[in-house]
């Protein structure tokens, strides 16, 4: 199908081009014909000629091209997706398939081997039974791909011919073409909704399957997380308590990272907006933005390679003997640095949107700039800053690579920043990159964790946006 499908697509596209050209030419001819010799000067004022057509000739061209292309390409797409099933059915009806074992698994293996030989991906048959099926496969394949191609071409011809016959001077080609364009625009903007629905549906679907194995209460409030033992069959009941993961996520993302990002981000924003000269600001702001542009995998590698050993040495130096080399502190610190530009730009926006008159008033009363900032600007900008911090938290808890590379896998409930904790995102990656089959409780647990993560980040975002919005309204 690959080569012939490509050729047929090219052929249909060519047909579309021909339809465009010929329909446009016909529309132009009609325009000429509609012009009586007396009224039209022979010099050929093109605008006067076109006055008889409702639409420009190129719209007639587009109308024909759309009729030639859209139905046939749609058919081709549908055909390509259902063809493997049709081919397999036909092969199974062949006499050579009668001897296949009834067991679905071996049957599938033999069929797929025959398919890859028929398509030229494999050389020779490992199983003699699949060798016998190669010929039926090839036949069925060529039958259906030729059939599909012929039908698609007929559709293209028929569409073009239909559009061609409709060309009249008063035919409203532009209106029709524009209606289709509007439909394409609407469909494009609906994709966002479809994606959201897809995310919610897939997370919910797999989570419901997970909760048929594991009680949701045990999942949300249990304190023991050991999916490995569940996978080995030591009982499912208590292995999926996610509280240690939630705690680890909050500890790293909302406590340690924010302890770094909020002071540094806020003070940077204050310095940039209130103190820095425009020239310095022009240099410093992009530098902060570069911090946001560094890929998270780079931060993760940096945390694991440089920061984590330093943190362990620090812990040993201050007398904590059981410090982990995958400490919460290392991951949290680096994540905090990653979040700095985020907090800073949100704070920047909200400080800048405090009316200048408030600042001027405070300065005129004799307050120093820092007193103005601390007692007037920050209180006034606080809702915006809080909204920004909430957005930053939602970003931090959804962050994956830093914690996968620098935080541990041990699900501990601890307050010690030098100990190893694990997070929701780390566990999602762990659960889904193993080798077990997809339907095990272990892989489904990843979707349940994903659902929790999605809901929490969504709520944080909604609340943050509401706070910011209300604050903006207060000053506008």
């Amino acid at each position: 199908m690959d080569v012939s499908g490509f050729a047929i697509t090219i052929l249909i596209l060519g047909l579309g081009l021909v339809a465009w050209l010929s329909a446009r030419a016909r529309a132009l001819r009609l325009a000429h014909a509609g012009q009586s010799p007396e009224t039209s000067p022979s010099s050929g004022d093109r605008k006067a000629r076109r006055a008889f057509l409702h639409s420009l000739p190129s719209y007639h061209g587009w109308y024909a091209a759309i009729w030639a292309l859209v139905p046939s390409l749609l058919f081709l797409a549908v055909w390509t997706s259902i063809m493997p099933g049709l081919v397999t059915n036909r092969v199974l009806e062949a006499p050579a398939a009668a001897s296949l074992p009834p067991d679905a698994f071996t049957r599938g293996a033999i069929l797929s081997e025959a398919r890859s030989i028929a398509q030229g991906k494999a050389r020779s048959a490992f199983d003699p039974r699949s060798g016998a099926l190669v010929e039926p496969y090839r036949d069925a394949q060529s039958f259906f791909s030729t059939g599909g191609g012929v039908i698609a071409l007929i559709l293209a011809f028929a569409g073009a011919a239909y559009a061609f016959t409709r060309i009249r001077p008063d035919f409203r080609a532009r209106t029709r073409v524009e209606r289709l364009v509007m439909m394409a625009l609407l469909i494009a903007s609906l994709i966002a909704i479809i994606t959201t629905v897809g995310i919610v549906a897939s997370l919910l679907w797999e989570s419901i399957r997970f909760f048929s194995h594991v009680n949701p209460i045990d999942f949300l409030f249990g304190t023991k997380w050991s999916p490995q033992s569940a996978a080995l069959g030591y009982g499912n009941e208590n292995a999926f308590g996610a509280v240690p993961l939630f705690w680890g996520t909050i500890f790293i993302g909302a406590i340690i990272a924010m302890a770094v990002a909020i002071p540094l981000g806020l003070m940077s924003a204050i310095y940039l907006t209130q103190y820095a000269r425009p020239a310095a600001r022009a240099w410093l702001k992009p530098i902060l933005e570069v911090l946001a542009g560094v890929p998270t995998v780079v931060y993760g590698y940096f945390a694991a390679l440089t920061i984590a050993p330093a943190m362990r040495d620090l812990a040993v130096a201050i007398g904590i003997s059981n410090a982990s080399s995958e400490s919460a502190l290392a991951a949290g610190l680096v994540m905090g640095v990653m979040i700095i530009p985020f907090v800073s730009s949100m704070a920047d926006d909200s400080i800048n949107s405090v009316p200048q008159s408030m600042r001027d008033g405070s300065l005129a009363m004799g307050a120093t700039p820092s007193e103005t900032i601390r007692q007037v600007l920050i209180p006034a900008a606080l809702p915006g800053v809080v909204g920004g911090v909430l957005l930053a938290v939602s970003r931090a808890i959804g962050e994956t690579m830093i914690v996968v590379m620098a935080a541990g896998l041990a699900a501990n409930l601890t307050l010690n920043p030098f100990a190893s904790v694990t997070t929701v995102t780390t566990q999602i990656v762990q659960l889904l990159t193993g080798d077990q089959e997809f339907d095990s409780a272990k892989t489904l647990a990843a979707f349940a964790l994903g659902l929790v993560l999605f809901i929490v980040t969504l709520l944080l975002n909604i609340v943050a946006l509401q706070v910011v919005k209300r604050y903006r309204e207060a000053y506008e």
Partner: protein, 426 residues
């Protein structure tokens, strides 16, 4: 304005003695606190920038040596016993077959043992014979001579040359150095090869190609959809509940953690639609869903910036609403949209987590030939190498990071250039 304070209360108050000691002290204290606050702000920005500098310098320091390799000089006195090769045949059409059957690995090992002494074979990379083959292919006449060929050193020797090796390897390297048989050279393998188990043979080309293919799919899907959606929402959408829902979902999608998109890709593209695992096609589709909201938001801002007078003028001379948008608004907004798209693409290019979910973390030793072949991408390759225990992977990981950062820097520079060049103030 009526004041509740009686007018004569001002007269009774003693005026503040600004020159007095208490006030002077107070002012000094306030100025000191002002200075402290200002320094605190400066310190926090310097700290942030310093962290960035520290990160970049440490990556450079670790990674720059990944672009070089140690080569060991091995003397080949042709003809060598186990080699069966006829120089005349190398001119013919069967040259490749002749070279393939010439038993070059054994020849190379023997020459290494002879030149470097006992254990010489362990000092050169196990793929060193490829260099010998290339040398013979390039100039068959060396088969009648004695030549000195510089072959890539083994991972141990390479580490020792870069100062991280084991004591025995350090000693071996010191001996080589003394005899002048070792040199540093540019590691072209790193830019042309794919993943391998031996750190001396790894390269980023395979992952880079995977990144390019993934990005191609991402842009091919998200750019048209994003632009059309932005046009619809900004120019045509009626104010109703549907439009609000579309806007809310686009804004939320832009804030959904990337790993959730990976879960969506796994559940829908792989398990429901049975698309091939680990393929740039699926990676690109997943990334397209992630990039689309970014393009829509940037696109709407760019479209909003086109002044309404342009639309009015076009409508006034008889253009239809579709013609107004596609002939006038879109061309004017395109530079802004492009800038947003490049920034979105750069973000997608550095993204790792969703691709782990859809299986692009496999060991792939050959560059992908198309969008349905198994592939990996640059950030995932960095992640995979960072997991390697062997110490010689540290410099390769950092070197790959340097390449990734340079590439992202290039993309962002193009975006900034576009913005500055085409930015119009109406």
């Amino acid at each position: 304005m009526t004041s509740p304070v009686p007018a004569d209360s001002f007269a009774k108050r003693t005026p503040t003695d600004w020159k007095g000691q208490a006030m002077q002290k107070r002012i000094a204290r306030r100025y000191a606190s002002e200075k402290r606050f200002r320094l605190l702000g400066l310190a926090s920005i310097v700290l942030s920038a310093g962290f960035l500098a520290f990160l970049l310098i440490s990556m450079l320091g670790n990674g720059i040596s990944g672009f070089t390799r140690t080569e060991v000089g091995v003397k080949f006195t042709f003809p060598i016993a186990p080699m069966v090769i006829d120089p005349a045949m190398l001119k013919g059409p069967q040259a490749e077959q002749v070279l393939a059957s010439a038993n070059l690995p054994a020849v190379t090992a023997q020459a290494a043992d002879q030149t470097l002494g006992k254990g010489g074979e362990a000092m050169i990379s196990s793929n060193a014979w490829l260099t010998v083959r290339d040398a013979i292919r390039k100039d068959p006449s060396i088969l009648q001579q004695t030549v000195m060929l510089y072959l890539p050193a083994s991972a141990d020797i390479d580490l020792a040359a870069k100062g991280h090796g084991s004591p025995s390897a350090e000693a071996a390297y010191a001996r080589l150095k003394e005899k002048g048989q070792a040199r540093r050279a540019f590691n072209s393998t790193f830019l042309t090869a794919s993943d391998a188990t031996d750190a001396t043979q790894v390269g980023i080309w395979g992952a880079f190609k995977g990144s390019l293919l993934t990005m191609l799919v991402t842009l091919a899907l998200s750019f048209p959809v994003g632009v059309l959606a932005a046009l619809y929402l900004e120019e045509y959408a009626p104010r109703n509940r549907w439009t609000d829902m579309i806007e809310v979902s686009i804004n939320n999608l832009a804030a959904v953690p990337s790993i959730i998109f990976g879960l969506l890709g796994l559940a829908v593209f792989l398990n429901l639609m049975n698309l091939p695992r680990s393929a740039p096609l699926v990676g690109g589709m997943t990334m397209a869903l992630m990039t689309m909201p970014v393009i829509v938001i940037a696109g709407r801002n760019a479209i909003k910036a086109v002044p309404p007078s342009i639309r009015d003028a076009a409508l006034g001379i008889g253009a239809s609403p579709v013609q107004v948008v596609f002939h006038h608004v879109l061309p004017l907004a395109l530079p802004g949209i492009m800038t947003g798209t490049i920034i979105g693409a750069a973000r997608a290019l550095g993204e790792t987590a969703p691709l782990l979910m859809i299986g692009m973390r496999a060991f792939i030793a050959t560059p992908p030939g198309g969008v349905t072949d198994p592939a990996t991408v640059l950030p995932v390759q960095i992640f995979l190498w960072s997991d390697e225990i062997s110490k010689s992977f540290v410099e390769k990981t950092s070197a790959a990071i340097i390449v990734l950062l340079l590439f992202l820097l290039g993309m962002n520079s193009i975006a900034i250039y576009l913005r500055n060049k085409f930015e119009k103030r109406w």
